[in-house]
Point group: C2
Chain length 335, copies 2
């Protein structure tokens, strides 16, 4: 069976509600295989119905617990849920740690909840695109809610959560440094600021700090709310659900030209540009060209910036050579 019809068959079965096709489509998309990229193109017109929510914050902020609580709340409303948990890779095996899966155990027996742990192979830049792609697969498969949870607090890691429509940034009192999220520069991507573990001392101080910070921000058309919750005690969850719903309504009411309306699409495209570049750099031919350029830099016959420009030109050359086919997917599948 050719690659094109393989992807076509996969998408047909996915749209028909076959759970095995969903699993397989996710794997193909995650591996950025030719079938996966073709499937993505075919299923994309069927997306746009799901509501996606990104959850991020420092290690220990309670992201997984909040994810589980929100998932259960949506399930109680009768909506189907998918969770994409981006786990850190262990340094040598590149396998995913089990922590988050274990914490989600009580959800896993519910057929209305689909949990997918993504191993963090490769860079955070590439992962953001892949998480968005997997979210699109869930969307096409008819999931009502897609939650993307990112472990990690680096500036690029949090971009993984920001490919969602609404991004929650978690803060907690008593982490030693109350402004961790601020220092990591991750508040910039927040649509809703959450003070988790609000039953702990210091929660009000964290809330006040966040409000003070927001008062310094340039006035936008969306007023970022600060919501206090206690995920373990399920306090404040309704307020958080309301804030998420309000943000979704804000996006839908935005005019087509507004940055809010196309913001998510812009972020997804930029993530895909990085993923595409990394994908091409993994290819054998380019890798050996990179080797010879590295030798030039090491011997000072060229500099890294000029070498980068040359490498980009070679990617382009390869592109032009193989890019005569009119379909992007053919191109993507072979180069």
């Amino acid at each position: 069976m050719s690659r094109g019809s393989d992807a076509g068959d996969l998408v047909r079965r996915l749209l028909g509600g076959e759970r095995r096709a969903l699993s397989r489509a996710i794997s193909e998309v995650e591996n950025e295989s030719a079938t996966g990229l073709e499937a993505l193109r075919l299923l994309y017109p069927h997306t746009g119905r799901a509501q996606s929510i990104g959850i991020t914050g420092s290690a220990g902020a309670g992201k997984s617990t909040l994810t589980a609580v929100l998932a259960k709340a949506f399930r109680a409303e009768g909506r189907t849920v998918a969770v994409i948990a981006v786990d850190p890779s262990s340094p040598f095996s590149h396998g995913a740690l089990l922590g988050d899966r274990i914490r989600m155990q009580d959800l896993t027996n519910d057929p209305g909840t689909f949990i997918r742990s993504m191993a963090t192979r490769g860079s955070a830049g590439g992962l953001a695109a892949t998480a968005a792609d997997v979210a699109a697969v869930f969307d096409a498969a008819g999931r009502d809610i897609v939650i993307i949870e990112t472990v990690g607090a680096g500036q690029d890691e949090v971009k993984i959560a920001s490919v969602a429509q609404t991004t929650l940034v978690l803060n907690t009192p008593g982490m030693g440094d109350d402004i961790q999220a601020i220092k990591a520069g991750i508040i910039e991507i927040a649509d809703v600021l959450v003070v988790n573990k609000a039953d702990l001392p210091g929660a009000d101080a964290v809330e006040a700090q966040l409000q003070a910070l927001l008062s310094l921000a340039p006035a936008g058309d969306w007023q970022i709310p600060v919501v206090k919750v206690s995920a373990t005690k399920s306090n404040g969850i309704q307020e958080l659900l309301d804030a998420i719903a309000t943000h979704r309504a804000h996006l839908q009411a935005s005019k087509p030209a507004d940055s809010a309306r196309y913001g998510q699409a812009r972020r997804q495209i930029l993530a895909a540009v990085h993923a595409e570049l990394e994908r091409r750099l993994r290819i054998g031919e380019l890798d050996s060209q990179l080797d010879s350029l590295a030798a030039g830099v090491a011997e000072r016959t060229t500099d890294p910036r000029s070498a980068a420009v040359e490498l980009l030109q070679r990617i382009n050359g390869q592109w032009v050579k193989k890019g005569n086919a009119s379909e992007h997917d053919v191109n993507r599948g072979t180069c």
Copy 2:
């Protein structure tokens, strides 16, 4: 004065030891201006003498203190030092926080030490390239040692430190989660593992964990050492200096074809590729093209991956149009 001769004059004065030319060159390079990129090309043949050391680890691991202690140790040996401290940006002003500068105050009165704080505008990917560029400027200006200190613990942030020849990854006992560095996946980039705050309880356990991890790693030609230090008490510093020197000797003894020898150059080129791509995406024309593609994705007439491929092609098209000049720098300056 034309851009080319401006850069030429700047590089001449820099090589002549003019401190003001050094400051200006750093600023131009940091801003990725046409003059900066041209200056970088001109000064690169004069680099290769300095020893560069990257220092990274979680927040609170004591990176700045260790940086200051190492800087003073090198100064005591009569070597000149440059420190590039990559500070987190404050979320709204995008200015650098003052913390690290303050901690370095006792070094700043020494003319043999040059400290440069880099604001983290833009992405971590772009920053890695810029930090490497600034290190090259210091190298050409005759600094013996260049220390690149990265604040932040994300997978892409730590790449900033890994553009150095020798990368130290700091771990500390008593951070609540002893394997933070492991979870963040940052041990992969370590040439030397440092257990800082070795006077605190739990240091031996951290050391044992790291050794256990290393025993699982595929055997390479470089045996990663674990060195216990107490930066505040200046304990273990000589052992750390020895480990750094041993790694440098290892790199120099490696055969030209060895990955160790060209590893740094490869990392620098890949960082520069990302920086170059981001630089081009900031350009007005491409930005409006991104807008129309985002509209297409939002309306489901295309998908993010196909839009990314299209955007890359447009970058290429622009490239071909403006890339007829034979000098890369002209190209870089205008597109």
